[in-house]
Symmetry: C3
Subunit: 342 residues, 3 copies
Amino acid sequence: MQFTAQQISDLINGTIEGDAEVAVSEISKIEEAQHGSITFLSNPKYETYLYSSNASIVIVNEDQLVKQPVQSTLIRVKDAYTALSVLLDAYNQLRFDKKGIEEPSYIHPTAKIGKGVYIAAFSYIGPYVKIGDNCKIYPHSYIGDNVTLGDNCTIHAGVKVYYDCVLGDRVIIHSGAIIGSDGFGFAPQADGTYKKINQIGNVVIGNDVEVGANTTIDRATLGSTKIGNGVKLDNLIQLAHNVEVGENTVIAAQTGISGSAKVAENVVLGGQVGVAGHITIARGTQVQAQSGINRSIVEPDKKWAGTPASNYASQMRIQVTLQKLPLLEKRILELENLINKK
Amino acid sequence: MQFTAQQISDLINGTIEGDAEVAVSEISKIEEAQHGSITFLSNPKYETYLYSSNASIVIVNEDQLVKQPVQSTLIRVKDAYTALSVLLDAYNQLRFDKKGIEEPSYIHPTAKIGKGVYIAAFSYIGPYVKIGDNCKIYPHSYIGDNVTLGDNCTIHAGVKVYYDCVLGDRVIIHSGAIIGSDGFGFAPQADGTYKKINQIGNVVIGNDVEVGANTTIDRATLGSTKIGNGVKLDNLIQLAHNVEVGENTVIAAQTGISGSAKVAENVVLGGQVGVAGHITIARGTQVQAQSGINRSIVEPDKKWAGTPASNYASQMRIQVTLQKLPLLEKRILELENLINKK
Amino acid sequence: MQFTAQQISDLINGTIEGDAEVAVSEISKIEEAQHGSITFLSNPKYETYLYSSNASIVIVNEDQLVKQPVQSTLIRVKDAYTALSVLLDAYNQLRFDKKGIEEPSYIHPTAKIGKGVYIAAFSYIGPYVKIGDNCKIYPHSYIGDNVTLGDNCTIHAGVKVYYDCVLGDRVIIHSGAIIGSDGFGFAPQADGTYKKINQIGNVVIGNDVEVGANTTIDRATLGSTKIGNGVKLDNLIQLAHNVEVGENTVIAAQTGISGSAKVAENVVLGGQVGVAGHITIARGTQVQAQSGINRSIVEPDKKWAGTPASNYASQMRIQVTLQKLPLLEKRILELENLINKK
C-alpha cells in the first residue's frame, strides 16, 4: 500500500513543505529510513539525521527550525510523536482487519457474541460469556464461564481469563497474561500444613487498559481486584488478590504488588519494584526501578527510591556515600589512632 | 442457590444466635455485605462492622464479645477464618462440577484416563499419560508424553507439563504454569559459544501442592526436581533444574531459586527473593521479600533479610543506620577538623 | 533400549577400561547411579563416588587418576562433561522423533511448510508463515502472520510468536515464551491519560538461540528487537522493545532489560538483574545476580555487582563494611564524646 504526503498530512492535520505527491510504503526510524519510507523527528538530539536522511517524508514539530538543506518532504504538526501514533493507528487498522469466526473454535451456546468480532481457531468461549462488538479474540484464548468483555477489546493469543471477570471497552491483553487466577491465600494449620482459602471474588478491569505479556492478575478472595480506566501494565507483572490500581497508573515490567495494596491514580512504578501488602500509595507517586515499598506513601506526587524506599533525593545521597563506605571506616580508624595517641 | 443459617451452621459445626431460617445466596466482605449475603469476622480490627453490617449472617469466633446490638444472625465457630474456608470449599464444589470430555480434544490412544474426569476442548493428552480419578483438565492444557497425574488434580487453562513429569494427588496448577521445561545448562566451548546439555531428568510434585500462574519449574538435568507435599507456590516463580523444596514450604510471587538449591520444609520465602545455586536453606527459615540468599542457612527457624541476606534484626539496624549515612560522613569530617585544629 | 560400553565409547570417541560388553539403559547422577545405568565424573569434588558407585559405566576425563578399586567400566574421554552432552543429544534424538501433522491443526493455505516437520494438534500457523525443514511445533503454538522460522527449530507447547518476527536455524523456544508482543510505549496526554504508540517493528532472532519458559521479548516500535546468534535466555526474562543482545550472551532467569538497551556479545547477566533503558553494556561484562545497571558499561570484560552496580571487588568491600555500619556509628559517637571531653 502506498500513501502520498498529502494523504498522510490530511490524516494528521499537518502542513506540507515540499512535494505533496511523493509516496511512501513503510515507516522507519530516522537513522535507518530509506527512499520510499516515512519517519519522524521528535527528539532534538536526532536533528542531524534530518539533514542526512533519505526518507521521502519526515514528520516534524511545527516549530522545528531547518538549519541546512533537507531532501525529504516535511509535514509539520503540533506534536510529531503524537502524530506518529495517529499514523500507526491508521496503519494497524488497515493491517489487522481480521473478522469472523475461524474453525475449530469452542463457543458455548449460552455465550452472547457482539457484532463484527474476530474469534480465531482454538478459542474457547465458556458458558454465559458476553463479548462486546468488534472484539478480536486470537488463537488459544480462554474466556471462562460468565466473563464479560466490553466493546473493541483485543485478546491476544493464549490469554486466559478465569470465570466471572469483567473487562471494559478497548482493553488490550497481550499473550500469556492470566486474569483471575486464584489469590495466594492459605490458612496455616496446627500440623504445619496449609488449608486453601477458596478465592471466589473476581477481577474488574476498566476501559482503555493494556495488560502486558505473561502478566498475572489474581482474583479477589471476596469482592474484586480492581484495575482502573487507562491503566497500562507492562510484561511479567504480578498483581495479587484484592489489589486496586487507580486510573492512568503505569507499571513497568516485573513489578509485584502484594495482596490488598491500593495504588492510587497517575502513579508510575518502575520495573522490578516490590510493594508490600495492605499499604496505600498516594496519587502521582513515582518509584524508581528495583525499589521496595514496605509502608504507605501518604503525600502525593513525590519520587521514591531504594529498599526500603525513601525520598528519592536522600536516597541518591545515601547511594553516593555508600560507595565511600570502606573509606569512611578507614577514616574512623585513623581518628581513633590519633585520639589514642594524644 | 439459597442456604439457611441452619444448613450453613451444620456444615461448619457452628452454634446459631438469631434466626436459624434466614437465607443467603452470596458471600461478601464484612464492610460490603448486604441483606441476603453471609460474611465473617476474624480480625478484631473490623469489629465495628459487626454492629453496622447489613449481612444476613455473620460467622464469628466462639469467644467473640458482642458489645452492641447486631442485626445479623451469628454463627459461632472455633475459628471463623477456617470456617469460611470450609464454606468456600462447599461453594466451589457446587459451582465447578464440570465432568466429561469436550470436543475437540486430543487424547492419545495409549493414555489411561481415570473415572469422573473433566477434559476440556483443546486439551492435549500425549502418549502413555496416566490421569487419575476426578481430575479436571481445563482448555489448552498440554500433558506431555508419559506424564502421570494422581487423583483429584486441577489443571487450569493453558498449563504445560513436559514429558515424564509426575504429579501427586490433589495438585492444583494455575494457568500458564510450565512444569518440566529444560534446565538452563550449557557447556562453554573454546570459541565462546555454548553447547546445550540436554536435560533428561523430570519434575516430581507431591500431594496437595498448588502452583501459581505463569510459574516455571525446570526439569532436572539428571534425576528429579522435587516439590514436596503441601508446598504452595505463588505466581511467576522460577525453580531451576534439580531444585528441591521441602514439605509445606510457602514461596511468594516472583522469587527465583537457582539450580540444585535445596530448600527444607516449613520455610517461608517472601516475594522477589533470589536464592543462589547449590546452597541449602534450613527448615523453618523465613526470608523477607526482595532478599538475596547467597550462602547456605544452617540454623533452623531464623528470620533473614537483605542482599546479601543477614540476620533479620541486624539487617533492620543496618537499614536504620543507612538512612543516616550522609550525616555520619559529615560527623566524621567535623571530627577530623576538630582533631586537626587541636 | 540398551547400549553397550563399546557402542557408547564409539559415539563419544572414548577409551574403555573394563568390560566393553556391559549394557546400560538409563543415565543417572553418580551419587544415585545403580547397576544398569551410566554416569559421569567431571567435578573432582565427587571423586569418592567413583569408588562407591554401582553404575555399570562411568565416563571420566582422560587424566582422571584412579586411586582405589572401581567396580564400573570406565570410558575415558577428553572432557567428560562435553561427552555427556553428546550422549544426551543422541538419546534425545532417538526419543523425540515426532514427525507429521496432527489433527486438528490450523495451517493457513498461504503458509509454506518445510520437509520433515512435526506440527502438533492445536497448532496455529498463520497466513504467509514460512517454516523451515525439520522444525518441531508442539501443541498450542501460535505462529502469527508472516513469521519466518529457519530449519531445525523446536517450538515447545504454548509458545506465541506475533506477526512478522523472524527466527534463525536451530532456535529452541520453551513453553509459554512470548515473542513479538507490543513494546510498552505510550504518549502522555495533557489530561493525564496515555495514548498507545503502536509498535510496528518486529523481533529478529539469530541461529542457535534458546529462549526459556515464559520469557517475553517485545517487538520494536520501529525496526527490530535483535537477539544475536548463540544467545541463551533463561526463564521469565523480560526484553523490552528495541533491545539488542549480542552473540553468545547468556542471561539468567527473571532478569529485565529496558527499552533500547544494547548488551554486547559474550556478556553474562545473573538472575533478577535490571538494566536501564538506552544504555550499552560492553562485551564480556559479567553482572552478579540482583544487580541494577543504570548507566553504560564501557570497559569490556569486567565484573559488576550491586544497585546501582559498581566494580565487583569494591562492591564486595562495601557489603562487608555495611554489616558493621551500626558499629561504625557507635565508634563515631565514642570519638565525639572523647573529643568533647578533651
